[in-house]
Symmetry: C2
């Protein structure tokens, strides 16, 4: 079903389509090589004469809201994913669009989750033409099978901001789920039954979209403070019974891995940071919310505590462990992109040192700098890494598209980037000759930590020198790979089809790789 | 010296130039009549590849900063006025520009003060071509005398945002004085020797200018929290010894008028609000920082206290009286555009209910609504009012340009707008047949309060009905005028020249009136 486009080899040696969803593309040129041109996108100039003087922008239903903003065939409708797998609003929105008989929408979520399998029927019936955004689970599977009419476009959080800002994606209607909002459209995520902390993933949508609809289940009188989303950018406000299932938005507890292998990986990574001299007063770090990352943060905390070292800032996703470090004075500031548990939400609400950020501040590559490159060390995961340190984070080795990029690509800009990966998944080695899908260029990935050893990118002789003499199991990545291959054998690769189903964008909007139809 | 342009009569019956500083204008069409077209302006797309990865954007001097951003002849350089008459940065900037031999700059301050008389020599020498922005004092006088090479353009705070946003004024280089900043360019006004509270007047500059320079005398390590100005919009950071004289930025005390006449005006205004039913639970108000406005706020406070009424929000400028009302629970939120004393600064720093705003949230008429129209009552001053309730706020009756518009025009959008004016100034009646310069259309001005009586705009029959039966001295504005004329005689009007020296913009960017050369 996907369009047939001429393929061209990019600077990473990957075949990518020249045209994606009717739009000409620039193939990836190398890190920092693409020079953007032109001016940032911007919505039409509006006038207060067209908005209620009393500031009350409410209409009764999402259907009314869509009618008011003039939803029409072929438009781009965006949503955000701070409500994660508890989100009810994206489903409501496309059900309402279907009810209006609208067709061929492009859905532009900041990410989609299994709960959004509801949209499969709208893809089938023609309400949605295709999705550009991370597709986790069933939608990724649908895309993988080549069933979507357009190509999937996978972007990092920063790449999504860049695409909106640069006018690559023009949002016609943004639908913003808001845990708290006022009738003017000011909104935040700090309170309400579906509190999710912040709304940073919807910020670009609110600024650049032509029309903005805020949907809330916790309407407060003007002014809703703080205005993470500014009512001055909002056209319509809709009150609904519930915007989502709180139990699936944030969890009360955060789970650390219990796997001995993964605990070892986390410990090795933390000890590497110490040995390399990264853990020093005023340093900064970012660790995700996965079980291994959490364990890393705890090992790091213990090292900091015994060394008497304070971090100037930590980048979130936040969780109770990070919040404790803030409270205990081990971290001076949390610069947070999303809250992963209720402790994170509470801390952001109550502690001014726990600061909400957006993909603009943190990740946008087409800005005057961003926070990601100022982080001393970031630990990330990957589905595959190759011997050139190139990494994959969206497909499995069988080629199926199952994960989004998130902030992963953007974080590679950190001073030291570490991938924490198990040697094997389902008895398939994670270190490979060539990654199925290239998401991160090897020149930006410094260290790969497995339970069987630590591989340091030869470009980082400084790190190799720093840890020489330590008892850390530092090994050549080729040796590590050879050992894994000996243990499991090199699995035979599934033959890839020649039909693109999605592309992976680099942080600058160029096309880094193609995801091919499976089966 | 000012350009000769064809004059045309606008919808308010005022003669205005068709072209201002080389740019075609739309004459004022009436309140809410002008329909904007096109898209918002936006700066060029940039890339992180051109900015330091470690986030350190410092250069040693303003001269270096100008060289780095490529300051050139004819460019537009903007500054903000939160440091008021204590500002040192605008002077430093034009001295540095002069040192580089740059000519014909357009200076685009959010307002200028007597301290900026330093720029007279740069106007004389050709470094500055002309000024678009409020000119208080010596610069206004210079402009009034027709000495400036271009026309002055007077805009309200909201009109300045609108002009930038709509692309009417393209800022090449914004110079932002920052009481606290980090090397990345994040900045706020809450701390430091020159703390001024907030930096809202510089926000549009930071977003829309091609190049942004932050100048600070209080450099802190990244991250500077909160980032009222976002480093992601900043090109260069300069540390200097001092950005201004704290004693002239904010005063430790705020002075209430002692004039019996003005106290009576303030009291009448507050009693009018009570009688008209405006002072009710959940209402909102805005009062400026002048002595009469302050007295009004105190009378209002006493009325609220005895009636047991709480305001949902008050709009600042903030001062210690407003802060006390917040602390005492008489006001739930302060939505503040500028802090006028140290109590205001402290409260904004420490109390999350004291919220910093910007001309975007509060005043921009080309937005999806703004705060100004949601305010129940605003009290303002004026230099003249006519019998149609039209008002002047920029010139004196002798035609001299001496004041800026500030937020005055924007505030007229409030549900009830009251002008608190003495009957006479220097024995010249304030109520006139026709205002010297039209700044506010009479249809938006509801009540004029003088010490000799209260005139209610006949369009507001609801207010007349509400106060009927009270003991308030409500009078027809013609009667009031007749009384003043009897007492003083109608002064002879100075003949106006036929040479425009400045124009007054309406909130939608159309030209409302012309200021003519004096003497």
């Amino acid at each position: 079903m996907a369009e047939k486009a001429r393929l061209v080899e990019n600077a990473a040696g990957r075949l990518v389509p020249e045209v994606v969803n009717g739009r000409e593309q620039t193939p990836y040129l190398g890190v920092g090589k693409f020079r953007p041109e032109g001016r940032k996108a911007s919505p039409r100039i509006v006038t207060c004469a067209d908005y209620p003087e009393d500031g009350d922008k409410q209409v009764p239903t999402l259907r009314d809201a869509f009618e008011k903003v003039g939803l029409a065939d072929g438009m781009v409708v965006s949503t955000h994913h701070h409500l994660r797998n508890g989100d009810a609003v994206a489903n409501m929105a496309f059900d309402a669009a279907a009810g209006l008989g609208v067709k061929d929408l492009m859905w532009f979520p900041s990410a989609s989750f299994p709960v959004h399998a509801n949209q499969l029927r709208h893809l089938e019936s023609g309400v949605i033409h295709h999705i550009e955004g991370s597709m986790n689970g069933p939608l990724g599977d649908y895309c993988s099978q080549g069933k979507m009419r357009g190509l999937g476009v996978l972007r990092s959080h920063g790449g999504r901001w860049q695409a909106i800002q640069d006018g690559e994606v023009h949002i016609d209607v943004a639908v913003i789920a808001a845990p708290t909002a006022d009738p003017f459209g000011n909104a935040h995520g700090l309170d309400g039954p579906a509190a999710c902390g912040l709304l940073g993933f919807a910020l670009a949508d609110s600024i650049f979209a032509e029309k903005v609809i805020v949907v809330t289940d916790n309407l407060v009188p003007f002014p809703c403070i703080p205005w993470q989303i500014q009512g001055n950018n909002v056209d319509v406000v809709v009150e609904v019974d519930s915007i989502g299932d709180p139990s699936k938005i944030v969890s009360g507890t955060t789970r650390i891995t219990r796997s001995p292998d993964r605990l070892r990986i986390a410990e090795l990574a933390a000890r590497f940071c110490e040995a390399a001299g990264i853990v020093r007063d005023g340093f900064s770090f970012q660790a995700g919310a996965g079980g291994t990352s959490l364990a890393f943060a705890i090992y790091l905390r213990d090292i900091m505590r015994s060394a008497g070292v304070t971090a100037r800032f930590a980048r979130g996703g936040s969780n109770r462990y990070l919040v404790e470090m803030l409270r205990d004075g081990l971290v001076e500031y949390i610069l947070d992109g999303q809250t992963f548990d209720l402790d994170g939400v509470r801390s952001m609400r109550e502690d001014p040192r726990h600061v909400n950020t957006s993909p603009f501040t943190s990740y946008n590559y087409h800005g005057k700098g961003n926070f990601a490159s100022m982080v001393d060390v970031v630990v990330l995961g990957a589905t595959e890494v190759d011997v050139e340190f190139n990494a994959n984070v969206v497909t499995h080795s069988d080629g199926r598209l199952l994960h989004g990029i998130g902030g992963w690509q953007n974080c590679l800009a950190a001073r030291t980037t570490m991938l924490l990966v198990p040697s094997f998944r389902d008895r398939i080695p994670v270190i490979v000759d060539r990654v199925t899908t290239l998401c991160g260029p090897g020149e930006l990935i410094d260290v790969v930590v497995t339970e069987r050893g630590i591989a340091v990118n030869p470009r980082r002789q400084d790190l190799l020198d720093a840890v020489r003499g330590s008892d850390l199991p530092v090994r050549d990545i080729h040796d590590l790979k050879a050992e894994l291959d000996r243990l499991c054998g090199v699995p035979s690769r599934p033959e890839r089809s020649d039909e693109p189903v999605a592309v992976v964008k680099w942080v600058d909007g160029t096309v880094l790789d193609t995801v091919w139809r499976v089966g």
